[in-house]
């Protein structure tokens, strides 16, 4: 009876402490929003409106070059710098200034068979350049076949497939990643209050009262759960409202991933707090962990492009499994029935259990009364 009353009072106090702290608002709400919006604006435009700016160089007009130009002008994703072919010098200038993504040089004579493609050295490895090479390559193949009067036997029809829903787009991927990251950071950084309480002697002061410190931890946990729900709602509202994110929510999948993830990252924060004597030290540890995981756990980009050794690292990190679980629950709308999902949840929970155990051990070894 009095325990519930104590928990209630602690919870109310914790809520006030959290929402009166401006830092909490900034790092847990505004920062994730800013990060998400920036990434959405840079990378969020999906492939269907892929456009490449291209110019054509015609050194001397001839039948072959005229016909090729005619056909190239029909490729829908090319946006033309000029309606008329230009000379080599003008094209080189555009390339250097990055006014165009690529320049296509038409054959100089009727008998010449070579089409030249020019990129800026700096952007030669970019996705746009790769796409242009692919498109032009395919175009030439088509041209060869029609020249030889062959009807191709095989055709390649490319379409993307993602698990569950068909319309998973980058914006969906990014928003769910950002939500997972925000919740994870909430946990990693959330124990800073504990460090401060210990440093200022408040923990010692509370030890002089009959309150159970476990209740204090529990109420802090509940408050961070509420913050997590708030983060999900705000980021989802912005993602869906401004960036056309598609949601495929499976409540059970989402709730399990959220709970296990939030607890695990709280445990990580608890571990950091156990061996941090000052707030600065704690923030240092939390920042390192958050930075490493942010880029290695597939928050902003899929990990499939990583070299093998880095993939292995990624497969160890808890955020990898948390973000997968959250995506299962919010973007794919399935997961609760799959063994992969539960394996991920189990690894995540394992991280939580181990870090909590170590944290508790360190706390027991170091005296709270240490000033």
């Amino acid at each position: 009876m009095s325990r519930t009353r104590q928990l209630g009072k602690l919870f109310v106090a914790d809520m006030k402490l959290m929402f009166r702290e401006k830092q909490v608002w900034f790092w847990n709400i505004f920062f994730p929003i800013i990060l998400m919006v920036i990434f959405m604006l840079i990378f969020g435009s999906s492939s269907e409106n892929f456009k490449a700016k291209v110019a054509i160089v015609e050194t001397s007009a001839n039948a072959t070059s005229d016909r090729l130009e005619q056909e190239l002008r029909n490729v829908p994703v090319f946006e033309w710098k000029s309606e008329q072919p230009v000379d080599q010098a003008q094209a080189d200038k555009w390339i250097e200034d990055k006014d165009v993504d690529a320049v296509i040089v038409l054959p100089a004579t009727e008998d010449a068979k070579t089409l030249k493609l020019i990129f800026n050295k700096e952007t030669e490895m970019s996705a746009t350049s790769q796409a242009i090479s692919g498109i032009v390559g395919q175009f030439i193949e088509q041209a060869n076949w029609s020249e030889a009067g062959v009807t191709p036997t095989f055709n390649l029809d490319v379409s993307s497939i993602s698990g569950g829903s068909e319309d998973l787009e980058y914006a969906d991927f990014l928003m769910t990643g950002q939500i997972a990251l925000a919740i994870a950071q909430g946990g990693l950084f959330g124990m800073v209050g504990m460090v401060e309480m210990r440093r200022k002697g408040l923990l010692k002061r509370l030890k002089m009262t009959p309150v159970r410190l476990g209740l204090l931890g529990l109420s802090g946990m509940i408050v961070r759960f509420i913050l997590g729900v708030f983060q999900i709602l705000v980021l989802t509202a912005i993602g869906a409202g401004f960036f056309g994110v598609n949601l495929h929510i499976d409540p059970a999948t989402l709730i399990v991933a959220f709970f296990v993830g939030a607890i695990t990252f709280n445990a990580l924060g608890y571990l950091f707090s156990s061996f941090s004597k000052t707030m600065e030290a704690y923030m240092g540890y939390a920042n390192i962990a958050s930075f490493v995981m942010m880029f290695l756990s597939g928050i902003f980009f899929p990990t499939s492009g990583f070299p093998d050794w880095l993939k292995t690292v990624s497969e160890v990190l808890p955020l990898t499994y948390f973000v997968e679980g959250m995506r299962d629950g919010m973007a794919y709308g399935s997961g609760i029935g799959s063994s992969d999902y539960w394996l991920g949840i189990a690894i995540l929970a394992g991280w939580g259990a181990v870090t909590y155990a170590i944290g508790a051990l360190v706390y027991r070894r170091t005296k709270i009364e240490a000033r």
Binding site: R5, K9, L202, M208
Partner: protein
Amino acid sequence: MPVLEVKGLRKTFGAVTAVAEISFSVEAGEVFTIIGPNGAGKTTTLEMIEGLVPPDAGTITVDGLTWEKNEDEIKYKIGVQPQSSAMFDLLTIEENLDLFASFYPRSKSIAEVLEMINLTDHRSKYVKSLSGGQRQRLAIGLAMISDPDVIFLDEPTTGLDPQARRNIWDIVLKLKELGKTTILTTHYMEEAEKLSDRVCIVDQGRIVTLDTPAALIDRLTKEREVRVSFLDGESAAAEAESVAAQLPGVTKTVREGAFLQLWSVQPEESLYGLFGFTKERGFRVEQVSIRELSLEDVFIAFTGKEWRD
């Protein structure tokens, strides 16, 4: 039966002996003050009694209860204001009191505590915006929120200005009126003398002496310093000196111009004789005083150390 009984307390940290041997008992309703130089073991002693630090040896009983068996009951009976008063900075005074009150099965009303610590007008202020004196008063308020029988105040006035210090004294005196037992440590002798029923001087982890402030002063050497100054100048003072040296009880005289100092084991007798002489000769005395002894003298006498505030 004493409300607090401490027997043979001992605590070492590595090679350092913080508390060597401390025993005392405190009766209900007393203001019991522990003074001593820095590092004497005052805070460690308090922290052992408050249940924060387990002693290496010795027993502590609060109202017949021990920490090993009755941790919660003792916590209900005591209230603590630690040296560094930590509280929730982003909660208001009232919210802090309300939260701490919820930790206990019974508590004083918040309005009553606010009244006692004179913070009623500031109750909606965040703790982080309080002055040093207000913070300290709130810390004492938090210590009394559970209406404890025994209250520990660890240097409640250190670093406060004289007015703020006096406000704290008022609170201690109010607590005494309410019949509470107060265990106090302080850096100010004046405070110990004014507030305490008994004073315990601690040095190097041991009790040097323990008694009422008056008895402690009384226990000092019987020789008192008497000062007399004469309106009739140096010659009168010189004559008086030669007479005074012969008076009963006088051990030593020193004269500087018209100002005469004498040390006597019977100051009343010596003064009686001296005034008989001045009356007979018609010398006019400008000022006369017997220097009061203070706890500071007691401290110096017992520890051989200068007192530093």
